[in-house]
Symmetry: C2
Subunit: 404 residues, 2 copies
């Protein structure tokens, strides 16, 4: 398996584009993105569990009942959520795109991201979609990745090459996500493409299994968005024997998918709103996976841990505190905690009590951009990871005045 360039256009048959069509009125930034497969693809998606759901979530769910998609369209600047006519707008978007691409409307994945509760105007879609389609290109992943950004400061793109049954396959993804990041059984807006051949059912199985250890273990601010969605389109152009059940090829496909999703998770965490640091909490020694995940996520979600990381303050008691209220059944007298980064490693707590450490060494570890919080529970041999970021002045600044 190797990392390659090309993002969502790395896999055969996929083109993409991103344009400014005018959904964002206050600045000229690409606000509409399209990904297109030259042939119909197996498709799978997972969605937010927030009871308040964006209208595009409802429309996409209905479209993917057949497990087939050929295009994904996504706007930024307006979440099309809590609007009385949201479903109508999302359906009309698909209908306009369907006519332009010459594909059935229900083979289209539709998504929106931005402010909740502002009416969405169909006019920019109507005027923009023809040039969006005309500009589709194999070099278009970058502009599509830009088109879905909101408060993101960098575009998030990844592609890999891997082998299934002797055939070279490719998989790529783009993601947006910076605030309102605390996916629950689903995730942020992520679009993944691959030319591997896999049945819709197995594709859904692979995706649903993967998100438990990837996007569901990611938090920027504890707020589960109303518009979270990850979708995958697999168009089969790599020519591998189609995956229709578990086995060696499915395992290889899962490994490829996990490489793409973990990379995107890390990119989203590192670009959390206002973040200066990416946090990875690695919990080991748990007796089951739920315990390991619950503890890891509680640590990366703690406002106090996040603020301490911003200040490079080795206030490890806050980590013990977050483990203690996580809800996991942990014997705190067996817990060890260390920090690790490019700046070194320092152990702060053994068996639930503090041990002497050098404040200077701890500072050197915590001043790095990527910090690992290592928590050992001492009850078994199961591990889990969670990703987050620090809590900074800029998070408050960005979110104190998001709409204006």
């Amino acid at each position: 398996m190797k990392i390659i360039s090309g993002g969502v256009c790395a896999a055969q048959g996929f083109t993409a584009n991103g344009i400014h069509c005018g959904i964002r009125k206050n600045r000229v930034k690409r606000d509409l993105a399209l990904i297109y497969s030259s042939v119909p693809a197996s498709a799978a998606a997972v969605y937010t569990l927030n009871l308040v759901k964006g209208a595009p979530i409802t429309v996409t769910k209905a479209h993917l009942l057949g497990g087939i998609a050929q295009a994904a369209i996504c706007n930024s600047g307006n979440a099309n959520t809590c609007n009385y006519n949201g479903i109508e707008i999302a359906e009309e978007t698909c209908s306009i795109l369907s006519a332009e691409l010459g594909i059935p409307a229900d083979n289209i994945i539709v998504a929106s991201t931005g402010v909740i509760g502002e009416l969405m105007d169909i006019a920019p879609f109507r005027s923009g979609i023809p040039s969006l389609v005309a500009g589709l290109s194999a070099d278009g992943s970058d502009s599509a990745a830009e088109g879905i950004m909101t408060t993101d400061t960098v575009k998030k793109e990844i592609a890999i090459e891997f082998t299934l049954g002797g055939k070279t396959c490719r998989m790529g993804g783009i993601a947006k996500g910076s605030g309102m990041i605390h996916p629950n059984m689903a995730t942020m807006l992520v679009f993944i493409t691959t030319d591997a051949a896999i049945s819709p059912a197995m594709l859904q199985k692979a995706l649903s299994g993967d998100v438990k250890s990837t996007f569901n273990m990611l938090s920027v601010d504890g707020d589960t968005s109303t518009n979270d969605m990850v979708s995958v389109m697999a168009n089969g152009l790599a020519g591998n024997e189609i995956i229709t059940d578990e086995g060696e090829d499915f395992t290889a496909f899962m490994a490829a998918l996990n490489t793409v999703t973990v990379n995107l998770c890390r990119m989203i965490a590192a670009d959390g709103e206002g973040a200066t640091k990416m946090l990875e909490c690695i919990v080991s020694g748990a007796y089951d996976i739920d315990t390991a995940r619950t503890v890891a996520k509680s640590v990366v979600c703690s406002s106090l841990v996040k603020a301490a990381m911003f200040g490079a303050d080795a206030n490890w008691g806050r980590i013990l505190c977050a483990i203690g209220y996580s809800g996991a059944d942990v014997d705190v007298s067996k817990v060890d905690v260390s920090f690790r980064s490019a700046g070194g490693m320092v152990t702060l707590c053994k068996n639930g009590s503090g041990v002497p450490f050098s404040e200077e060494e701890a500072k050197a570890v915590l001043l790095e951009k990527e910090i690992e919080v290592l928590v050992s529970i001492g009850d078994g041999d199961i591990s889990a990871k969670a990703w987050g970021c620090d809590l900074t002045y800029d998070y408050v600044k960005i979110n104190g005045d998001y709409r204006t």
Copy 2:
């Protein structure tokens, strides 16, 4: 019922004091507080449910098994938590105080608040307790309230006068709490005194019932502390007929207790770390109390709602989002949302969708110091309140470098 002065010394027989004994080395601030009743009192307490518990919690729980206490001692500057010898230190503190006051050590409530995981030295207690006791006075509530403060910017004190069976009773409380505030079935450090006569069992019943709608509905940052505790001492000197079961007097006592605890909750929320505004979410129209409480607490806990309040930004979609992920079973198409304050009232959402509103009017409402978020669910007639505060630059500043 009326509000009076005197704090924890308002009730007959109670004296208090607070001194600087040297637990805080870096600044001269009172760091040790004592509350004393001239006669043994019925006592009750509720404690944090964090699995990581401060050593004083363990010691106090054991002491209150008999339902009697005569003194409460509390230091700030060190939480005495995650220390190998924490229990020993807490017990020695009680033993020194027991000798000085001439009361049994197990009639003492002991509490600590401050940094987790730093070894606690018994020396400042040993040298400080004699002058702490010598200075006990009926005017001492202020200095005791100061003695328990950590990042608090104001001391939190309240006292009321009420009547039980024709006898005038008094009740007062002090509280500390600013960060790591997200009590779970228990609360922050709160000490309440009353001269009402009530059995230990009924006192515990009153307190355990009250916290469900008061301290458990309070959040500053989502982090449940390891040292949370509310205790009440009722010494009976008011001379009312002792309350030993439910009835009119118990109801009157519960109302008095609720007045004290709601006032302290509001003070803690308003003085949340870095806070510029107090938020009160009032959920009405729920079909049961759990739903109303879950929704109210989810709204005041949302980092995005809190940051929007800091910016006086009427970004009501974030409130819908927080309701949607709260876990409560709510029909979002029936939800209405309004903001209300001394600056007026503005409705932003009816039946789950946005309604036109004046940004100028909304700004006027949100620029006030106390903001009510009114959420109507439309499913019944049960209400609940939760308290919180805004998320500000100063929260990050305070917690980026708490220890130094």
